[in-house]
Amino acid sequence: MASPGEAVVIDTHVGKKKKPPARYWDEPQEEGKDENTVGKGCEQTEQAVQQKQTQKAKKRKQEEDQGDGKMFISGKPDPFPGPAPIPEDRVQKFKRRDKTKKSHRQHYKLKDMMSRSEEVSEMAQKQAARIDLLLPEDAGFLEGDDDEDTCTISQEDISDAVDITAAAKYFNLKLSQFGPYRLDYSKTGRQLLLGGRRGHVACIDWQSKQLMCEINVMESVNDVKWLHSEAMYAVAQKKWLHIYDSNGIELHCIRKFNDVLRMQFLPYHFLLATVSATSFLQYLDVSVGKEVAAICTKTGRLDVMCQNPHNAVIHLGHSNGTVTLWSPNQKEALVKMLCHQGAVRSVTVDKTGTYMVTSGMDKKLKVYDIRTFKPLKSYFLPAGASCLSLSQRGLLSAATGDIVQVYRDVWSTPVTKPYMAHRVQRTVWGMHFCPFEDVLGVGHGEGFTSMLIPGAGEPNFDGLDANPYRSAKQRQEWEVKALLEKIQPELISLDPTELGQVDHTTFEQRHQDRVQALGFDPLAKEKFIPKYKKKGRSSAGNVEKRKRQVAHEDLREEIRITVEDKMKIEKERKEREKKEAVLSSQRSALDRFEK
């Protein structure tokens, strides 16, 4: 039983009296009673150890009998007692839902089932948190020296400092003839699609700098978008929507989609959402080639659009300062929010679907919590941001004219300075963070710039979801699987977990129907019939007494519930009053005119 005990370490460093390296099992040893014999250090002699062991031998024996297994057969204490502790924040990361409250009125089988499934999910959560410790890559970062702003560090400095493969990710493409450029990265982040305003469309494997195809569509190009894989992409041209394959061959010209200005692809639904100059929001199912929905938004020209990656709802920005949320199942907007005084210039949503960042003609940058639809932060940018993009790890890039600024933590702390900044040659036209890379792609009038933004990309990808290193065979298999689990457009709603919740209303409706059909309530509480007891204990008076006891018990239960409810309401009221009191103490200057 070789245990990597600290005894060895201590022996070799006796002279230096160096502290042994901190290990996770140190903490329980300090707190614990019996396994601190070796760990606590040099001053304890072997004898003392022996003595202590004999003192607690009895107790230990008991513990062993209980199956703790803290001892080896040789008598040595286990230096790694119990399972390794998991940091609480990691466990929180994998938490799916709160524990359901079990009421004592539920059936015992149901209670048992629920507690069992909770146990299983807790175990899964812990295992996932454990595996999280083993992830191979760490996120990038950029730290300035003392009194050096990170926003003053230029791209050249960064590319000089990092290794050669990372440095090669900072590059410029000088394409002045057909610009300005829109761009899109594929879901794995390997391929880049560029669409120049004057008809130039190119797709590039940007890491190896290999050109996959390059065409000129001889028409103005409004937007470009990859479809589910790097084999196909959609181009919104002057009149219609066209779909090309990665060799530049035109596959479809979709005449139902005209004057498209912006596009979004919903990867799990296989839907291409487009907005047009004629104020139509249209959804195209790219797996079967059918138009799923065409919604006339009646809000004029639409050229601000983004998707919420958490629930596949489309956000549109309008010239009157509102942002509207749309799903293909409803002809009306799900939500309308007034966000800006002037027109909305750009909208973007983070990947957890919690925050929405908007910028408007009023030169403001606002952050909203879109679970509650409340503003969190508002910033004033002197030039106003024309393009916004959020990275996987929550960095916000904002383009003001020809300057690209990247901000960090826009929703948690008030930001005064950008994290990074960079000036490109001409006005920025399109901007996207590359998934799983620390790269920001900027399309502008003079071509394309790929910038290094340390800490932007998710360091560890999931091989079954989006694998940048997948082979052709793996891609084919992924495609089949992804198509098999294509989510139907009917399932798009504001809350994506709605499908996993208990449908109380339907149950109540069905129960009512059942009661009507049967003529009695099958779930009603059975009437208490007292048992017949012998030895004269079932006299009429006795039976009556027992009945009353049961009735009394029921009444107590009812009273208990009503009292609980009352207490709850009272508590809520008090809290509200407290809040109001706090608010009223912050009196404004105008309050003195109030009567």
């Binding site: 999280d132 990372a166 091989g463 082979s471 994506p496 003529g519």
Partner: protein, 445 residues
Amino acid sequence: MKVKVLSRNPDDYVRETKLDIQRVPRNYDPTLHPFEVTREYTRALNATKLERVFAKPFLASLDGHRDGVNCLAKHTTNLSTLLSGSCDGEVKVWNLTKHECVRTLQAHEGFVRGMVVRHCGTSFFTVGDDKTIKQWKMEAPGYGEEEEPLNTILGKTVFTGLDHHRQQAVFATCGQQVDVWDEQRSSPIRSFTWGVDSFSAVRFNPVETELLASCASDRSIVLYDMREPAPLKKVIMTMRSNTVCWNPMEAYYFTCSNEDYNLYTYDMRYLDRPITVHMDHVSAVLDVDYSPTGKDFVSASFDKTIRIFPKDGGHSREVYHTKRMQHVICVKWSADNKYILSGSDEMNIRLWKANAAEKLGVLAPREREATNYSQKLKEKFQHHPQIRRIAHHRHLPRNIYHQTKELRVMKEARRKKERNVRKHSKPGSVPVVSEKEKHVVTVVK
């Protein structure tokens, strides 16, 4: 300035040679896997559809009998051996893996009424219409030897059923009375009667091995203790029960197949109302057998179908039928919980899968993992209406379909009438009698 930019070494993420398997790094972060619930729902829907596509339960038909198959017996120690007795007194021993008959013997004159393999598996007993109990060796006689029983007991009356004790050399028969026999003696060690003229089935409890249950023709189910001289108690129902089967895992529970198209699961301690009424058959239920796990049971019916019920479910989860299968007389669930065997009127024994969509044979680990995963998903989303509809749909022969509908209409009409009567009479004078209570007449101790 301190800087780190993501820079992955491709060697860590792609396989080294073409002979390796592909590397798939995983990250279980929930934010990288959006639409968890809806994707799982889609997977569950697909799994349910595929289950219905792959549901092909019929495996083989064993033909060779020259009259209807009247009884089946599982071998106690050998999975591949099955014994069947027919209405012309012939007993056949089958090898199930090869789907062939390995031995035929003329056991009785007239019907073979009951058959059971001894717990050690070396011999088996048969009873027939010729009032005899015969014990046979399991091995076939050598070349040139006569096919002769080890032992023959001549009884006074016709025997209609037979069962062997789980551990001891004791067996029980039923006929005009329930007899308990010692294998070494030619007269019963105990005889039970309780004022009835004939019994149709008798079964030993596999857990509490001294207990017996039997079905009598006076619509009662009688319980006995082998160690006591008199029967324990009986429950009288509205219609006659044909057979009874004990739950092999829960000693208290037994299920009986009834003439009124239903099956009833009783708790031995509380016979005044059944635990569950299993409805779905549209004709008399003739036989019932539990799975060795005690979670499901299979029933054979006069309506030419076999149904599989969960032990606590009121309706069947599966129905098996073929065009040529006639009235199913006997049914057995194999000891490895994988197959169902049914013997029917038209002289055939049929081999079915117990789980209709299961893939037989050895599963690769990944395949097994995938099936387990889809099984769990189906379980998780089973109550969603679309999935429920697909999972519950079964094609039925036209006459059964129409009969089911007719029965439903009749039931609804009866319920409606009862409701109207209750509405127009004094409150409390027409009590609500639940389905469970309806079928029990009385309990006698």
